[in-house]
C-alpha cells in the first residue's frame, strides 16, 4: 500500500473506496507540485552526469577538428613541443606525459607511506582529543589553495633544495612532488581512515584474544582486511596529483624535457594548458592541441577514478 501515509485517518476503514476518495481529494495543484518537485530531484540527480558529459562534449568539440590533421604517434611520443614556431610548428607531448607521470609517481612514493601511516595512526593508535585535533589539522592541510602551495615551492622550498642537495635549480620534479604529496595526503588519510574504521571490531578483539600485539594487528589483520579501501585512497590521491595545476606550474620548473634525475625541472600536461591557453587565439591549431591535451588528461583521470570506484564497490559487496 504505497499511498497509506497520505490517507486521512477516518478513511482507513474501507481501503479500496478510501483510496479512490483520497485521490480525488488531492487537488490539481498538489499533484502538479509533487510532479515538479519530483522532476527537480531527478534533475539534481542527473545534473552531475549531464555536467560531466557536457564538459567532455565541449572539450572534445574544441579539440576534435585537429584530430584529422594529427599524427597520433608524433603527438604522444615526440618530445618536440614547438607550438608557436614560425617555421614548422610541432606538437609532441611526449615530454609532458613523462613529466606528469614522473611527478605523480614521485609524489606517491612520498605520500603513500605518510598518508597511510597517518591513517593507521589516527584510526588505531590515538583517541579522544589527540584524534580530533589531528583530523582537524589534516583537513586544514587540504584547505590550503594550490596557488599558495606553488608560491611556497617557488620561494621557500627552491633555495632550500638548491642548498641541501647541491643542485643547480630548485624548482624541479622533487619540489613539485613534495607539494603534490602534501596536497594528496589529506585525501588519503580521510579515506584510508574510513576504510580502517569499516573493518569490524570483532577482528581486532579476536586478534587481541589470540595475544597479538598492536603492530601485529595492524600489519597482519587490519591492512589485509582494509586493503581495497586503502588502495582506493591511494588512487584518489593519484587523481588529485595528476589533475593539480597551479602548484606544479609554479614549482616544477615548467621545462620541456625528459628528466634524468629527480632534481631536473619537468613540465606537466595541466601546467601547459594553464600557461598557454590564455594567450592562444581561439580556433588555432595550438588552441585545438591544448584541448586535445585536455581530452588526454580527462581520459587519464577518468581511468584512475573509475578504478578507484570499482575497488570501493568491491569493498561494499563484502
Amino acid at each position: 500500500m504505497p499511498d497509506l501515509a497520505i490517507q486521512p485517518p477516518h478513511t482507513s476503514a474501507a481501503a479500496p473506496a478510501a483510496k479512490a476518495k483520497g485521490k480525488q481529494q488531492r487537488g490539481k495543484a498538489e499533484i502538479l507540485g509533487e510532479r515538479a518537485i519530483e522532476a527537480l530531484i531527478y534533475l539534481c540527480g542527473f545534473s552531475a552526469i549531464i555536467f560531466v558529459f557536457g564538459i567532455f562534449f565541449f572539450v572534445f568539440r574544441e579539440g576534435a577538428p585537429f584530430l584529422a590533421k594529427l599524427n597520433i604517434r608524433e603527438f604522444l611520443f615526440s618530445t618536440d613541443w614547438f607550438p608557436t614556431s614560425q617555421t614548422q610548428a610541432k606538437y609532441g607531448v611526449g615530454a609532458l606525459i613523462v613529466g606528469t607521470l614522473s611527478v605523480t609517481v614521485l609524489a606517491m612514493v612520498i605520500a603513500v607511506p605518510f598518508g597511510l601511516g597517518a591513517a593507521v595512526f589516527v584510526s588505531e593508535f590515538c583517541t579522544g582529543k589527540v584524534k580530533e585535533t589531528l583530523k582537524v589539522v589534516i583537513e586544514l592541510l587540504a584547505a590550503i589553495p594550490s596557488v599558495v602551495w606553488g608560491f611556497i615551492g617557488l620561494t621557500v622550498m627552491s633555495p632550500i633544495i638548491i642548498n641541501t642537495f647541491h643542485v643547480p635549480i630548485g624548482v624541479n620534479m622533487f619540489n613539485g612532488a613534495i607539494l603534490l604529496a602534501l596536497m594528496s595526503v589529506p585525501i588519503m588519510v580521510s579515506i584510508g581512515e574510513d576504510a580502517l574504521k569499516a573493518v569490524p571490531d570483532t577482528y581486532r578483539e579476536a586478534s587481541l584474544a589470540l595475544g597479538a600485539t598492536k603492530w601485529q594487528i595492524v600489519y597482519r589483520v587490519l591492512l589485509p582486511a582494509a586493503k581495497n579501501g586503502l588502495l582506493a585512497a591511494v588512487l584518489l590521491g593519484v587523481g588529485r596529483a595528476i589533475g593539480e595545476t597551479m602548484a606544479v606550474l609554479m614549482a616544477t620548473g615548467h621545462s620541456v624535457r625528459i628528466p634524468d634525475s629527480i632534481f631536473d625541472p619537468v613540465r606537466t600536461l595541466t601546467a601547459t594548458i594553464a600557461a598557454e591557453l590564455g594567450e592562444t587565439s581561439k580556433g588555432s591549431d595550438h588552441y585545438q592541441v591544448l584541448f586535445l591535451i585536455g581530452i588526454l588528461l580527462f581520459s587519464i583521470t577518468f581511468v584512475v577514478n573509475l578504478t578507484a570506484d570499482i575497488i570501493v564497490k568491491g569493498i561494499k559487496k563484502k
Binding site: T79, D80, W81, F82, P83, T84, S85, Q86, T87, A95, L154, T155, S158, P159, I162, N163, H166, V167, P168, I169, G170, V171, L249, M250, G253, H254, S255, V256, R257, P265, R267, A274, A275, E276, G278, E279, T280, S281, H286
Partner: protein, 303 residues
C-alpha cells in the same frame, strides 16, 4: 588578466553589435549622446595587451562615456583589423610594413594609417646578484637560447666561481611560448628561422622570471626592464662579442643604443575621431605614460 581578457572579448562583441545597431540609425560618428557609452575597439599586439588593458581600465574613470575594448592576437591581427574596419585603434609592437600600408590605402582611398608612438618595450638580461658576469653579447645569448646552441655551461661564457652556484650548468629561464616577451626575444636573439632551445625553465609571468633568478645562482633569464629588483643583476648587452656592452635604461632605450628594445605603436585609420584622439592624447600625456612605467615598459621621453 586572462579572465578579464575573455570577458572583454564578450563585452566587445556585445557592444560592437549595439554600436552597429545605432550606426544604422544614421549616427555615423557613434557619438555618445543620451548617456550611451561609446566603444573604441582596440586590437593587436600581445606584448602590449596588458598595457592596453591597464590604459582602458584607467581611462574608464577619466571618461566614463567611452569604453575601450582590448583584444590581443598579435600585431598582425591589429593591422588586419584596422584595414577591415574591425577596430579603431591597432596596437603594434612594430611599424606597418609597406605591403600593409598599400593594402590599407586600397581599402581606404585618400587615407593613411596614422602612427602614434606610445612607449618602448625593453628587455633586460638578468642574472643572480652574486654572479660576477657584467655583460653578454647577442651572439652568446643566441648560442644559449637557440635549439642546438653551443653554449650550455657558465665556463663557456668565461664565468667561473659564481658564489652559491651548484655545478657549471646554465639554467636558462624563459617565458611561456606565446607571450609577447617570448616572441620578441626569440625574434631579436634567436632569429626567425631558428627554434628556441627546449628545456628552458618557462615561467608564467615577467615577475616570476625575476623571482626565480633571485633564488637560483646558476640562472640567466630575460624580462621587462621594469621588473628589476635588488635581488637580481641586470647585465649590459653588446651586439657583438668584445664590443662594449650597453646597460639597459630609459636613456639607452631612447637613443637606440640598447639592442633589445623596440618602440610600441598605436595606429588609427587616418585622422582619429575626436573621442579617439582624446584617448590617444591621454595615453601620450603623463597619466598614460605613468601606466607605461608601472606595467614595466619604457615611457616616451618627457617633452
Amino acid at each position: 588578466m586572462k579572465i578579464k581578457l575573455t570577458l572583454m572579448t564578450v563585452v566587445a562583441a556585445a557592444l560592437a553589435l549595439a554600436v552597429s545597431g545605432c550606426n544604422k540609425s544614421g549616427d555615423g560618428a557613434g557619438g555618445g549622446g543620451g548617456g550611451k557609452k561609446t566603444a573604441i575597439a582596440n586590437v593587436g599586439s600581445d606584448t602590449m595587451v596588458n598595457l592596453a588593458i591597464a590604459w582602458a581600465d584607467a581611462y574608464s574613470k577619466v571618461d566614463p562615456s567611452v569604453s575601450v575594448e582590448v583584444n590581443g592576437g598579435g600585431s598582425g591581427q591589429g593591422v588586419a583589423a584596422l584595414i577591415n574596419d574591425a577596430c579603431q585603434i591597432a596596437n603594434c609592437s612594430r611599424q606597418f610594413e609597406e605591403k600593409e600600408i598599400a593594402d590599407f590605402k586600397s581599402k581606404h582611398p585618400g587615407k593613411e594609417p596614422k602612427e602614434f608612438m606610445v612607449g618602448y618595450d625593453a628587455l633586460s638580461v638578468f642574472v643572480h646578484k652574486d654572479n660576477p658576469m657584467t655583460q653578454i653579447s647577442i651572439e652568446e645569448l643566441q648560442q644559449l637560447y637557440m635549439k642546438d646552441g653551443k653554449i650550455a655551461k657558465w665556463s663557456e661564457l668565461g664565468v667561473n666561481n659564481i658564489p652559491g652556484a651548484k655545478g657549471d650548468e646554465v639554467i636558462l629561464v624563459s617565458r611561456q611560448n606565446n607571450s609577447g616577451t617570448y616572441h620578441y626575444f626569440r625574434e631579436a636573439i634567436v632569429g626567425k628561422k631558428n627554434e628556441m632551445r627546449l628545456g628552458t625553465v618557462d615561467m608564467n609571468g615577467s615577475k616570476d622570471v625575476v623571482d626565480l633568478i633571485a633564488k637560483t645562482p646558476n640562472a640567466i633569464g630575460y624580462s621587462g626592464m621594469g621588473y628589476a629588483t635588488p635581488a637580481v643583476k641586470q647585465i649590459k648587452v653588446s651586439k657583438k662579442k668584445g664590443e662594449p656592452g650597453v646597460a639597459p635604461s630609459i636613456a639607452t632605450t631612447l637613443d637606440k643604443t640598447y639592442p633589445i628594445a623596440r618602440p610600441m605603436y598605436m595606429y588609427t585609420a587616418g585622422d582619429p575621431a575626436p573621442h579617439i584622439k582624446k584617448y590617444l592624447d591621454w595615453i601620450m600625456a603623463s597619466p598614460g605614460q605613468k601606466i607605461v612605467e608601472e606595467t614595466g615598459y619604457v615611457p616616451l621621453p618627457k617633452k
